[in-house]
Amino acid sequence: MGFLASMWDLVPDVLQTIIVILLKIVAILLPLILAVAYTTLAERKVIGFMQVRLGPNRVGPRGLFQPFADVLKLLIKEVVIPAESNRYLFLLAPMLALVPSFVAWSVIPFFDGGVLANINAGLLFLLALTSLGVYGIILAGWASNSKYAMLSALRAGAQVISYEIAMGFALVGVLMAAGDLNLTKIVNAQSGSIFSWFIWPLFGLFLVYFISGVAETNRAPFDVAEGESEIVAGFHVEYSGMGFALFFLAEYANMILISALTSLMFLGGWLSPFQGLTFLTDTPVIGWVFGNGIHWLFFKISIFLFLYLWFRATFPRYRYDQIMRLGWKVLIPVTIVWIFGEMIAVGLGWKPWL
């Protein structure tokens, strides 16, 4: 160890910071990619269970190695580029879809102080980044030179823009309650007990946020952008091999991101639901389980991920005009009324229940 430490001291300061930051990025991204891989397996298993099937069970014990088999299959498949497509944009589009969904993780706090970039305007940054993912879809639709992909791109564009407004308004509610845009401070504003989480005073906004989050990630029941009964597979109909895999990686990373944000902003992130109950947290060996920690954040994220899968297994797909109606005529009025009420509460200084 002493040798390693002296080697480390030889490295110049600037390089040291860069190496540390790179290691942190790897420490966030590797588990994220693994989580994405196992979310795909969980989705097939959970939906299989709900439909009284077994789901994948051939590769490895209980099908646990299925994601790796899928990745290997997609990696060695040929990447087909359609003859009349726009070559550069066709190859660029999957990357444009993937990058914002990974970059957003740079401002997510995993525990108090456990964040790559603790920036002031974290909430705004996230809102800006989640709105960029749609470029990948729109460009994929256009560059494929396929009618189906084009229709899907138009649908996805209109849908994401409509639901972004409701999403932004829901975030305004969180911002008013926490009094800050920094995500760590937003979580710390919810500390106290389970009753000081923002889900209680902001319940309507919580529902609006999660519903718009499902719509933003183009997941069922809002997945008209890939409605296989109408437009084959939507924007990625011309993609094969790794291009197709990148779109899926982006979609699942976005799902996990939305789940993480919902838990951070409404369910107190890493805060334990048993906070304040000292007889539990002071238990000798297992006391840490009841205390605050990253495990509670993971638990909350998995709840929302399960909801995603549950929605997919049980809800029929929305009709396009009904999606637009839900976004503009239901969710946005709900947020406006809720923010108005919250404004009065904050103005009158009703702090505990807003």
């Binding site: 920036i119 305007a121 705004l124 800006a128 749609v134 564009g157 005009d321 009904q322 109606r325």
Partner: protein
């Protein structure tokens, strides 16, 4: 050259190159993408100036919403190139006149500020490490500039209502159209009548 200056040069270079790309590339989708790149690098320059709120909002509003709609429209256009060239020549004199006026205006403004090294135009002092641009902007907007801010909001509202009124058209009286509320309110009892029949009839 400090690191910040180095970054500024890179972003400024990308901004200028992308802006030139917007007016020179042939494919209109590429032009829109170049414009997005321009917005992005200008946002980066703003963040270098410690104006992170403006930078992020530029990305959020222009890149995240306005340019998506732009691309939307451009993708659906089928542009006839010959007609385009014809029109380009027709409007060239007017275009040159506008460009010259803009250039003169820019030169007048820039001569005043950037190249004047007198005390009045010195570089802005660096803010303290805990300076919060978002908070500072909010405080100014809601105290000192409250009325202009609110009036600007009302002007935008008027514009929205005007745009909606322009596109609103009354449907003809006897046309059947879907009413989603009505469709959602349908119950099975209104539609299905279960009839019990005696067996063996």
């Amino acid at each position: 050259m400090t690191f910040v200056q180095f970054l500024f040069n890179i972003y400024a270079g990308i901004t200028i190159a992308a802006a030139i790309g917007v007016v020179t590339v042939r494919n209109s989708v590429y032009a829109a993408l170049c414009l997005i790149l321009t917005f992005f690098s200008s946002a980066a320059i703003w963040i270098l100036l410690e104006a992170e709120f403006l930078g992020i909002v530029l990305v959020l509003v222009y890149v995240g919403a306005v340019m998506v709609l732009f691309l939307f429209v451009i993708m659906m256009l089928d542009i006839n190139r010959e007609q385009l060239v014809e029109r380009f020549i027709k409007y060239l004199p007017a275009g040159i006149a506008v460009a010259v006026i803009i250039a003169i205006e820019m030169i007048v403004v820039i001569q005043r500020s950037a190249f004047d090294t007198s005390e009045q135009y010195k570089a802005v002092a660096q803010n303290a490490p805990d300076y919060n641009n978002t908070e500072a902007l909010g405080e100014l907007l809601y105290t000192q500039y409250l009325y202009p801010f609110e009036i600007a909001a009302v002007v935008l509202l008027v514009a929205i209502i005007a745009a909606i009124m322009l596109t609103l058209r009354k449907r003809a009286v006897n046309v059947r159209s879907q009413d989603i509320e009505k469709q959602l309110r349908v119950r099975p009892e209104d539609r299905v009548r279960l009839v019990k029949m005696k067996s063996g009839q």
